[in-house]
Subunit: 204 residues, 4 copies
């Protein structure tokens, strides 16, 4: 008599294992240089299994890419849209970005450090849709704040660049292990810097 343990379906575990091993490899050695064999060794799967589930190396990467980006954007919008005012919104972006990077280091490495063109291309359709939606909502929020006079008018490209740029730069160094800094401190200071750079200044 078998005990009543419910045997979980193999397949989802396999997929997960493969994705996780692949992420490790992409992030440690780089996508272009990672071989399917590396992924096999890391996941315990067989070649056949990998190709059964994903069909190609590109598509493994594409799946990881989309998954990570979706998670990042989802949280970003949630944080932004529940902000009470312009200042907490702007500061919140820095806080969110750095927090997400800290909590999803490998996904962040893959998303922000590597951008293998083949992969972006393989995920292009889905990416386009996601980005369109994401940037529209960020822009909507921004337009409201500018109209309300809380944020100074700026070409929209610069807005994103001013807020996220420092976070990204810091993230890159931090993720590469080239910079040891307290993330909480960075969240505060980069939020402060972003707000200082964007807020509407009345006086001189």
């Amino acid at each position: 008599m078998k005990p009543a343990t419910i045997t979980a379906p193999r397949s989802p575990d396999r997929r997960r294992a493969i994705l996780e091993a692949a992420l490790q490899c992409f992030v440690r050695r780089g996508y272009a240089v990672t071989t399917i064999d590396d992924v096999l060794r890391g996941s315990g799967a067989s070649v056949g299994s990998v190709y059964h589930h994903f069909g190609s190396k590109e598509r493994i990467a594409a799946e990881l890419y989309v998954e990570a980006l979706r998670d990042y954007q989802h949280g970003f919008l949630a944080a932004l849209e529940q902000a009470r005012d312009a200042e907490s919104g702007v500061r919140g972006m820095s806080v969110y970005h750095l927090g997400w990077v800290r909590d999803h280091a490998d996904q962040a490495r893959f998303l922000f450090q590597e951008r293998p063109p083949e992969v972006e291309q393989a995920a292009a359709a889905e990416l386009r849709e996601m980005n369109r939606h994401f940037f529209r909502r960020v822009q909507d929020w921004l337009d409201v704040q500018v109209e309300a006079g809380a944020i100074r008018p700026l070409p929209r490209e610069l807005f994103h660049v001013i807020v996220i740029g420092p976070c990204q730069e810091l993230s890159r160094h931090w993720l590469a292990g080239r910079m040891r800094i307290d993330i909480k401190l960075a969240q505060r200071e980069l939020g402060e810097a972003a707000w200082a750079a964007l807020r509407r200044r009345s006086g001189p």
Copy 2:
């Protein structure tokens, strides 16, 4: 095992031609994906010649990397050290970075977008030395300004990140052709943003 046929035109610029072709390739297709053959076709050199001069694909890239970084850092320090005051120094960094990127687009693409680990490693010794010197001098300048009360005290890592981060982020998008913006405008606005974020604020 039998040898070549006819020795080709002895060009004193073989090295240069190879470096330039390689840069083009690395930047268009990516380092990992560029083949020596691509470089051959681009430069008109023969395999043997490439290996005679550089010894490996890595070392071609390393040479390009060091060369580009040296040029960037040299100009950066020159701009910084001839600045009259803190404000023009800070604004000057944004101006310099974006200007250098615009004027050396391919070198910038290679330096800032691609960072193949093998290449960094191949150039590691030289890089370490260059970076040590560079950051010491930047830091020295910064210490003076902070001491003089012109710039607010900040962990040194954040300083660089706040000034260069937005420029880098914008550069990346611009170099990737994903953003069309007037560089002069960006120089002004990102300089403004950086200065707003760093200057010592007296009142609220």
Copy 3:
């Protein structure tokens, strides 16, 4: 980067076919000068298949080397240990050596004529073990005969050299086709010579 076309006949003897083709090549042209392509043509396998099974050219050779040596040593010990007395033991070694060479000409060529250092090194661990066991057992036999007064005492290194040396020298010439001689005759005469050189002589 796109893959193969049609999977070829799944032969359980792929390994064997590769080993045999490789032996032919190594022996005809020399190990260093044999190309993987030669082995491919000789075996009908594909590059991938060869590397799937062996991993490197060296390891193909190492496997052949160990296999041949094992066979040689196994038979040698069997012959030695079933010899009735010292004389038949000593004569038997010459007989065995020359017989084995005649019956395994290509393996002998590989084992005794070529000794590519890379190959010995690739098989080093296994070889060391085999040789230790082999020489211990030969030495044990010899010690008994010397103690019994049938063979004159000699530094152990010289014993082997006196018995096998002439066989080896003859084998080399014979295998290289530089000497045409009746092996049976050589077995008798070299056995005779070895015995004459080793037996304990009573009178002057």
Copy 4:
């Protein structure tokens, strides 16, 4: 005023240096695996210089081969032909062979361990002539001894093999560093063994 030192011609030194470096390389790494570049590094010569003097890698080796063999054979015949009787002749061969090997270790390694077919072929004409002369004279000596009843009649191939085989086998092990033995002892014992194997035995 220059001092009266006679400046020796450069060329012979260069040739020597190249030959010596080549011998080292051939012997340490193997002929097939030695590159012209190895020889350059070892000799301080330039590619051009090597090709000026020798014309090809093969011909460097051929020259070394012939030179070594000539020296070996010359001494061998001298020793043989000044022997007073059969016994001292036979013993003398072992003594000479082992002595030459000890005194010309690298040349011996090249001559006896490596026999790259290309090299033998490149020197074929000269070799044929040398060997013909050498073996004729050895045979002549032998015929005399057999006719005089001092040495038992044997197929001529076996004669050489019985005398030189043990020396060769020992030399190989000794040259490879696999055997540490006193050469004087070996000379005596292998000479003894050879004589025991060849002398005409009167009684049973």
